[in-house]
Amino acid sequence: MANDERRVPSGWRRLIGLIALVMWLAPMAVAQVTVHAYVDKTTMGDGEVLLYTVEASGDFRDLGRITSPKTRGLTAVQTSPIQSWDVSIRNGQTRQRLRLQWQFRPMGTGTVSLGESTLRLDGRAYTTAPITVQVIPQSQRPSSALWSTGPTASPRPDLDQASDIFIRAEPSSDVAWLGEQVVVDYVLYFEAGVHPRNSRIASAWDADGFWREELNLDRFLGSRTVVLDGRTFEAAPIKRLAIFPTRTGTLAVDSLDIEIDVLRAMRSRDPGSLFRNPFSSRFERETLTAPRVAVEARPPPPGAPPSFNGAVGQFGLAVQADRHSVDVGEPIRVTATLSGTGNIATLEAPDWQIPTAFEQYPARASERINRHAERLRGEKTFTFTLVPRSGGSFVLPPLEWSYFEPEAETYRTLRSDSLRLQVVGPAAPLAEASPSASSDAFIGPLETATWQRAREAGPLWNQPWVWVGFGLPALALLGLVVVRRLRDRDDDTAAARSLRAFPEAQRGLETAVAHLDAGESRVFYAALDRTLRLFLTDRLGSPAHSLALPDLDTLLAERGVANETRDAALQLLRESDAGPFAPRPQAPPADILDRATRLMAAINDEAIAVETD
């Protein structure tokens, strides 16, 4: 028990600790957005280009105005940053990564700096730390530390590595989608003691089936050290290409001959010497051949959206009009800018269905290609010139443009916002209430109105007329059924009474006999008369007990009772009618009961026979 009492507080302590931990971690979970800036190098040559990146990641929606960072000792290569924006959703949480990249050239040697960058995300400002970079003369730039962004693919074992210097082409991928960018690096491998310089292409060269774009290696890219089959090489890229398959199948980049001056430190003639003699070295021109490389080009997968025109890569779309209110006849220029990574030169203009109220001129295209990046990227701007021919409010439909993203292996469709334009001037002869299908101007205001009482339009089944319309006929039909059933039941009752008439009459006769045996002849006659008339009433279905004898005779005739039977019935009724009123009691005839029995049996049979017919 004592142990239990000690354990409970311990559990509470753990719970409180857990709550405290959650409360401590909660603000960290809420603060999901992080922004930081970095450069691709902190020491650079004065001939190099510095890449400055501001990266924001987390859950944010709105990006405020972007301003270039303040710099000292640097000049911007481009005025606006290159943007890349990735969005991912994991476990229902949206995470985005925004990258803004600027390129700067140093204005001289010494210490240069990039100031704080402020980024507004969802209205909140995020400031990055300033960065300082050391710029040194290009000649002093150590070569081995520079080339850190080159290809990292492992050397292929099929290469002839017998020589102490060779070149090979290294594609970023052996398999590509049609139109996908493949970067091919021509890398010079050389052993220690081999000093290459002054390379140039020595032969004709082709890459049939590819769209080819040269990428600049304007930054001084040094070498890196690699080990191939136990031998140590320096590897330095000397040429970079972006190629885009233009047809499917196995495509080849031809072998490439490159002349290069090579200086080799000659070994001493003394075989025992382990030292090289630098004074006996000399440059020799050598021709090196980079073997051809093959790339398997696959067709894009099915399911391309209608607005897909073959663009492959990663792109963004921005559309803007130079004005939103113009006079009739005044031109409006709408620019659609596609930017991103891919074959910028071959991007096609979005297909844009402009309202017929506008005269549209062919789109002009201009492009800006960035060949300094690791991959070919840039932007292409299409300028649409529209001239409104009539006044009114117009909505220009959104532009749609699709591309295939190889990394995600999916098609993506970019869609701009629609543009609303106010055109001042005489409107086209658009009928107020009968718009033509081709018109794209908003109608209104209308001058006349058809008035009605505003009311809450509930569901139709709440309207009374629906219930009345459907209910009343159903009730009427129900009533009809009830009436019919009642009538049928009445018929059934008459028949039943008819069937029961004879047995009941026999019981009535037995009562009459009892009175006769008791010597009450008057009562006997009265009982006989009542029995006969009740029998006739039940059997004939009519109130025979109140009928005069002629009427009863007529009724019997209508029911098909034979003349003899009718006469006998009337005779018996006269006797039973007169019996109670005799001056003194008289014994009834001995056969009166037999006659009554036979009479009722005859009527029973004959009347039944008539109904059955």
Binding site: A433, G444, T450, W451
Partner: protein, 243 residues
């Protein structure tokens, strides 16, 4: 007495209508002068009188559009369409404003497409009237048979034809009525859609002003809506206005 009551009520009914017409003309005048916000206020004043019309809703939509209030513009043109499904000018503006909003809705199911077509071209009331006619015919034939107590060949043939027609008409009328009764709302301002009806719930999506969303549930100040991709989420009721 009844006539006297009617005479007393008639002027009271007409006075708001005269006021409605006066405000309607005022709104049109303000529109012609470029005062879209003033015109919208005048048109809203018409609605306060208890009178409405498809043309009023269209003009109100146009005024809000010119005043850069897309959400109310969509709301009123949708209401105009509800009042007059086949009004050409309303259908025209509705098409344009939907293009302007640009929100692509999920492709409708065959039932929804059929209900939308019936609602636009016949209407739930029309469908119900057609059903009523067929229903009365069937009941009449059945009543005749019950009364006479016998089934004649022509009666049997007529019932064989009419009963399936009545069933189809009933299904179509129900489909149309349910479609028209389904509550839909316009997003008045850009809003966040949350996974549960709580400010603290994570945002699963954002919806833009002017989008029209079906309401599937309500809980306090939150409304559950079905998004164009078919998912459901919760939006604060203040960001929506039911059509």
């Amino acid at each position: 007495m009844l006539l006297l009551i009617l005479l007393m009520l008639a002027p009271q009914a007409e006075t708001p209508r005269a006021e409605a017409e006066r405000l309607f003309v005022l709104g049109n005048t303000l529109m012609s002068e470029g005062d879209a916000r003033g015109a919208a206020a005048a048109y809203e004043g018409v609605l306060d009188t208890g009178w409405t019309s498809p043309e009023l809703e269209l003009n109100l939509s146009r005024a809000y559009l010119d005043a850069d209030q897309l959400g109310p513009a969509v709301l009123h043109v949708e209401r105009a369409q509800r009042l007059a499904p086949r009004h050409e000018a309303v259908a025209h503006n509705l098409r344009l404003v939907r293009e302007h909003v640009g929100a692509s809705a999920a492709p409708p199911s065959p039932n929804e497409a059929a209900a939308r077509w019936l609602s636009t071209h016949v209407g739930a009331g029309g469908m119900m009237a057609m059903l009523l006619v067929v229903y009365l015919a069937v009941l009449g034939l059945v009543g005749f048979r019950l009364w006479k107590g016998e089934t004649r060949p022509w009666l049997r043939r007529a019932l064989v034809v009419l009963v399936p027609i009545a069933l189809v008409a009933a299904a179509a009328a129900l489909l149309t009525a349910r479609y028209e009764a389904a509550p839909r709302a316009v997003v008045l301002v850009d809003a966040e859609v949350r996974g549960t009806p709580s400010d603290m719930a994570p945002t699963v999506e954002e919806v833009a002003e002017g989008m029209v969303l079906p309401i599937t549930d309500e809980r306090g100040l939150w409304r559950a809506v079905r998004l164009p991709d078919g998912d459901e989420g919760w939006i604060e009721a203040s960001a929506l206005e039911e059509i």
